[in-house]
């Protein structure tokens, strides 16, 4: 994967785009987990959500840089 993508002639770091993608994925996963009642088992839902986002973003980031 290229590390920068030309976006209307401006170089945008691919990482930024993957962050946005990770945010969208987290949002979808969050909806799904709500439906499944997952958050009843979670102590700190907000912390869980941020961690989920961090995991997804890191996973996607590794696919670029590793």
């Amino acid at each position: 994967m290229p590390r920068e993508i030309s976006f209307f002639d401006a170089y945008v770091p691919t990482l930024l785009l993957t962050m946005l993608l990770a945010g969208a994925i987290t949002l979808l996963a969050d909806r799904l987990l709500v439906r499944l009642g997952w958050y009843e088992l979670v102590w700190h839902p907000a912390l869980f959500r941020v961690s989920l986002f961090a995991c997804i973003a890191a996973g996607l980031g590794l696919s670029i840089y590793a």
Partner: protein, 743 residues
Amino acid sequence: MSSPTSPAPLPPGIGQQLREAAVDWGQNELPNWIYVFKMVLAGLLALGIGYGLNLESPRSALITVFIVMQPQSGMILSKSFYRVIGTLVGSVAIVLLVGLFAQTPELFLLASAAWIGLCTFGSAHNRNFRSYGFVLSGYTVALIGLPAALHPAVTFDAIMNRVTAITLGILCAAVVSALILPQASAPGLIRIIRARFTAFVDLISNTLGGSSDRQQLEAANTRFIGDIIGLEALRSTAIFEDPEVRLRSGRLTRMNSEFMALSTRMHALHQLMNRLHEANTPAAQLVIATISPYFREVQPLLTRDTGEPVMSAVDAADAALKLERYKQELPRRMRATRSAQGTALSDEALLDFDTAAELLYRVIDELHAYTLTYASLVQRHHAREQWDHSYAPKTSAVIAAVAGARAAITLIALSAFWILSGWPSGDVAALNAAAFCAITSASPDPARATRAVTIGVAGAVVLGYLYTFHILPRLDGFWMLAAALAPVLMMAVLMTTKPKLAGYGLGICIFFPFLAVPDNLITFNAAGYLNEAVALMGSLIVTTVSFMLLLPPTTNWTVKHLEKRLRKQVVEACYGKLAHLALQFESGTRDLMHQITMVTSSRPALRQTALGWMFATLEIGHAIIELRTELHGIRSGNPGLLPPAAYQALDGLRQTVPALFEQPGPATLAAALQANDVAIRAIQHAIGPHYRERSERHRLQRSLSYLHFIRTALLDTRSPLHPLRAASDVNSVPRAHGAPHAA
């Protein structure tokens, strides 16, 4: 809290007192302190990351944290979503403006003023998440646009740098407040719902028991309006935060709508009974005596077997069952009573009885629906969740436009002064005035807020001077800086949690970092600092003055305008599309009243008049919507039920009532009353004495009772319409032809 170590010399009870004081502190002060620590932590975190990333001006991140903080409600990750979008939209606007007008500062400033006016309008017009987006968009343009336009060559880099800083601030504030000791809004939601249900049960018991006077009722209704708006606001934030709330979101909205319908109906019934009590004729007494036993049966339905009132959602399920049984029996019993008393009651009294019976049935019906929805909240999924009529609170467009124009004019005036005088710090002044207009745009009384902030800024200027030139030179590294900043920031944030000091605190929070926190490349320039400070004070004073002079929201004009809009609701009720009309009418009317309440906090007399208009609007508008729904059913089902003359009479009513509410005056009132009388007679004539099928008769009877209710509302001695009628009676407008139902 520490306990006393040597108990012997203490007088008895001091340990107890200490413990009580500790509990009191824990309940009242502890949340504020947690909030203070969280905000300062978020701010310093943003500042630290900003220095770490080598941003040009990390203090923007710190300032942004204080701009987005909100003491009242817990902040949520998703709120920041709208703010980031607002920032991005703002930065795109800057690129566009700089690209178009970089050569001509006059045009650039005009365009910026227009943009900031637009954002102020948007933020004042919307009162939910969108409002934050608009605030941040305007703020971004103000903060970045002017410096960028002064150096067009580096615009893009400067914008990227600042946008990063602002986004960093937003994200730090959101993450810290969501992750560290989050303050959930769900418990508040449950508390409001429960308190409201209990309060309403009380109100029903009192009203139907006949022991509540108008003042109490008005106070209760004002409180309910605040509750309705507050619940909606809380719901819209809590769905982002709590998945359990999101699953119930539809039911919560539904409950709010059902509650509005119910309280309007309840009020109508109460007004009708009040008018009967006041009439004090034997016929009225007879009607009261006939219907009162039914009223007394309602309260036990809302009481548990143990005698306590229904509180929780679980109890509500029980109450709903009881209500349903009662509702099914009610029409039959009413018919029995009616035929037993029928001979004793005159025509007029019979009409009163029918209207009251109809209203009571509807109250029970709506109470049943409301209780069912309340009971359904216990379950995660429920059929009642299907409810798609959303309620989006919007501030009056005219008033929001005034706010927008005010911001634009302020900015134009300051920029004009800057360009004409060649003032070196003019950009700072213009920038701050614009940013400040954007920040205060949603405040109900911006002039007062700005005044307090200006005084806060004066404090910030003095503190900032001491910091920059006496403390900062001795500091080394970020941690020292953070340690030195923390006390001032904590004090300022703590001030914002106290309503009386909030404005001063906000001024220090925002402008102390602006003056005292160094950029990545520190420059010490005392003359420059003083110039900036003077520019800052000057711009805030100009902003305050313009907020005070240019149609501030607290003037009588605003209240009159809102009152007019309130009356316009009746026109909407007469001509709007029938689908969802009742709901829109209910929420729109209450929302307007809420806006009036916000701007009349210091003038109870104005609020009283507005409240009178709200009740008149609600009663008559609601009755008209019901009447229209009934007529729609008749027209589409069985158009022959009513003769053409009756349709004509009803059309006449539909023209005269909006005319009355658009221009209240003796003539329009007399016309509306006359049209109403004509319609009543036409329908009475259509019902006739001869036999009709029960459902048909019932339909006509219902229409008749709506008309009768409109009549009693028009004749109400406490409504703001009454003075008009008194005037028209003096002018002896003939109204004799209503003989069969003259009160």
